[in-house]
């Protein structure tokens, strides 16, 4: 059957196909994750191995942040001018020391706290606000819907990072301002997803029953719509965490996050990049840590999305 090779077989390789890199939330642009699986095939789904490994990496990052005082070998702020830019594995400094002789590993571990928090909190805040907006827009009148959704559209006229920088710069440096800025830019995509989920649920049969039974707006929203929309929204938010961490570190990198000498990954990238010639390895440490965190959170979120088949547009 040589001719068989001519025709793309759409069904044969799907099980492995979904594993690597199919549907992460697009950090920019609106790329709805597409499911090329033929409809009607029932298969037991579970997280693929890349997503499980990534989940482990994410968990260890969270654990490191949580247990920083216990596992960090040194004080993150303890400088030692005589021990500047020590190479990897020297004098008990696994990842060397920075320009002020501070232990890089300890700073990476302590830095996980502000870095991950500045990534997680905006997703959480934006998740709440976005869900509320989506509920109101999805259940409200046509006019309410138009007003909310058109307003959100305006935010799509900016590169998201740029808007975050503008807001953070206007508010001034600081972790809380960075969190506000990131929350603002994460609301529109979450609200869009929530709105489309609500619209989908709204057309379901049981909604008609709830309306006929005379349930009030809040009762319908909280008892019928929210529980059904929540899984998709939660999964989508999970998929946004990686992106949010990258943005948070980016703000830190530009000097819009925590103030020195606090350890934070983005700020560390900026502090260490002056040593690209004198200590190239050390200068890369925080950059690589962010890269690993970003890939891990994205692959994990991607896997979750695949599992629950959530579509949504990211930015």
């Amino acid at each position: 059957m040589t001719a068989t090779q001519l025709v793309g077989d759409d069904t044969a390789d799907t099980p492995t196909d979904t594993a690597p890199g199919d549907a992460i939330p697009a950090p920019d642009g609106s790329t709805p994750a597409r499911d090329t699986r033929p409809s009607g095939t029932v298969k037991r789904r579970r997280l693929g191995w890349p997503a499980r490994i990534a989940g482990g990496v994410c968990a260890s990052f969270l654990l490191a942040a949580l247990l920083a005082p216990l596992i960090a070998p040194y004080e993150p702020l303890a400088d030692d001018r005589s021990n500047r830019l020590q190479p990897f594995f020297s004098g008990g400094h696994l990842l060397g020391t920075d320009g002020q002789g501070r232990d890089v590993l300890s700073r990476v571990i302590w830095g996980a706290r502000p870095s991950i928090l500045t990534g997680l909190i905006p997703v959480f805040v934006a998740g709440l606000i976005g869900t509320l907006l989506g509920l109101v827009a999805g259940l409200g009148s046509h006019r309410v819907n138009t007003i909310i959704m058109r307003t959100l559209d305006v935010f799509y006229a900016f590169p998201a990072v740029l808007l975050a920088i503008a807001i953070a710069a206007a508010l001034g440096s600081g972790t809380s301002n960075a969190i506000i800025a990131l929350s603002v830019i994460l609301v529109p995509p979450i609200a869009r997803l929530a709105e489309s989920e609500v619209a989908r649920i709204r057309s379901a049969a049981f909604m008609e029953a709830a309306r006929v039974s005379g349930a009030g707006w809040w009762s319908i929203a909280l008892r019928h719509v929210l529980p059904n929309a929540a899984p998709a929204i939660v999964v989508y938010c999970t998929a946004l965490v990686g992106l949010s961490i990258v943005y948070a570190a980016g703000l830190g990198f530009l000097g819009l996050g925590v103030a020195p000498p606090t350890a934070e990954w983005g700020l560390m990238v900026n502090e260490l990049r002056q040593f690209t010639f004198s200590a190239p390895g050390i200068s890369l440490v925080p950059a690589v840590v962010i890269l690993i965190a970003s890939v891990a959170f994205n692959v994990f979120g991607d896997g979750l999305r695949d599992l629950l088949d959530v579509k949504g547009d990211g930015r």
Partner: protein
């Protein structure tokens, strides 16, 4: 076609107004009293009142917005606090370098993304497909500043294959030539291109798979066309949607490019914004955001037009 274009232009107006409103809001949320910060702690109440009137801060917010909008429309975005020059002119000068870098990155992202996506779609289940899928996932997740630094350490500083930063050599035989510029463009260009490249690759892959599964593909096959011609038909059909995403991505490049410019000391808008952040030079930051947002709107307009050219169905 003309009507199509006019309608698109008409649709851009509310977007522009929205953009201006958002920027106005970011100006208004600046903490602290602008009058006090301008006059310093020594200002007399009379001087304060005078300046307040002069700045129009005694008027209601909507009036302030309209006045501000009028000034912006005339290209007046205030003066740079640090440089004491016209903020817009200062930003515009830098923005031209950003355009150079972004265009280069856009070409890399679109060419690379399409190539990667087509490979992933047409060689499914094979090693090439797995690699291209993995690459696009990695590209999507890679922060520009991390990639830029890794490039500098491994390809520029250590090896000397590429310059570590800047836009042109000031000394040397080829200082200021186009070749020199291109040599400087490679690393920042690829760093900025990576995220959009990954997204475009994923988009191309999924639309190519959709197109290859479309009914007309079977019809083409039944006409005895060879497989490469069928793939060409399918690819042609992905172009409208790919173009839309690619256009958006080129727009988003303007955001990511800021980090790249800082890392590679590229004398563009991002570097200017970065320096203005530490100097709290807000007019420059606002002018920068406004210029980028304008460019973004213009890019979307161009994309819409191209979309209309590529897809006869939406051209009405």
């Amino acid at each position: 076609m003309i009507r199509f274009l006019l309608r698109r232009l008409g649709l851009a107006i509310p977007t522009l107004l929205g953009v201006s409103l958002v920027i106005f809001v970011t100006i208004r949320i600046v903490p602290g009293d602008p009058v006090a910060s301008l006059l310093g702690p020594t200002g007399s109440p009379e001087a304060r009142a005078e300046l307040t009137t002069k700045l129009g801060l005694d008027k209601p917010i909507p009036v302030q917005y309209v006045t501000w909008l009028g000034r912006v429309a005339q290209g007046d975005l205030g003066r740079s606090i640090a440089k004491q020059t016209d903020a817009l002119a200062y930003v515009w000068e830098a923005f031209r370098n950003t355009i150079t870098l972004s265009l280069f990155a856009a070409v890399v992202a679109i060419v690379g993304g399409i190539a990667l996506g087509v490979i992933a779609a047409t060689r499914r289940g094979k090693v090439a497909s797995a690699i291209s899928s993995g690459l696009s996932l990695f590209a999507v997740s890679a922060p520009q500043y991390s990639v830029g630094l890794i490039f500098i350490v491994y390809l520029a500083a250590g090896r000397g294959w590429f310059p570590t930063g800047g836009m042109r050599n000031t000394t040397g035989a080829d200082a200021g030539t186009t070749l020199d510029l291109i040599r400087h463009l490679w690393l920042p260009g690829i760093s900025a291109a990576l995220v959009p490249l990954g997204i475009i690759a994923r988009m191309v892959r999924s639309s190519m798979l959709d197109a290859l599964a479309a009914d007309f593909v079977e019809a083409l096959r039944a006409r005895g066309l060879p497989e490469w011609k069928i793939r060409w038909h399918a690819f042609h059909n992905t172009l409208p949607s790919v173009l839309t995403i690619a256009g958006l991505q080129v727009g988003y490049l303007l955001g990511g490019v800021i980090f790249v410019e800082v890392v590679f000391s590229w004398p563009g808008l991002g570097l200017v914004v970065f320096q203005s952040i530490s100097q709290r030079d807000l007019p420059v930051i606002q002018a920068g955001v406004l210029v980028s947002a304008l460019a973004f709107v213009v890019i979307n307009l161009i994309v819409d037009t191209l979309h209309g050219l590529l897809d006869p169905r939406i051209r009405r």
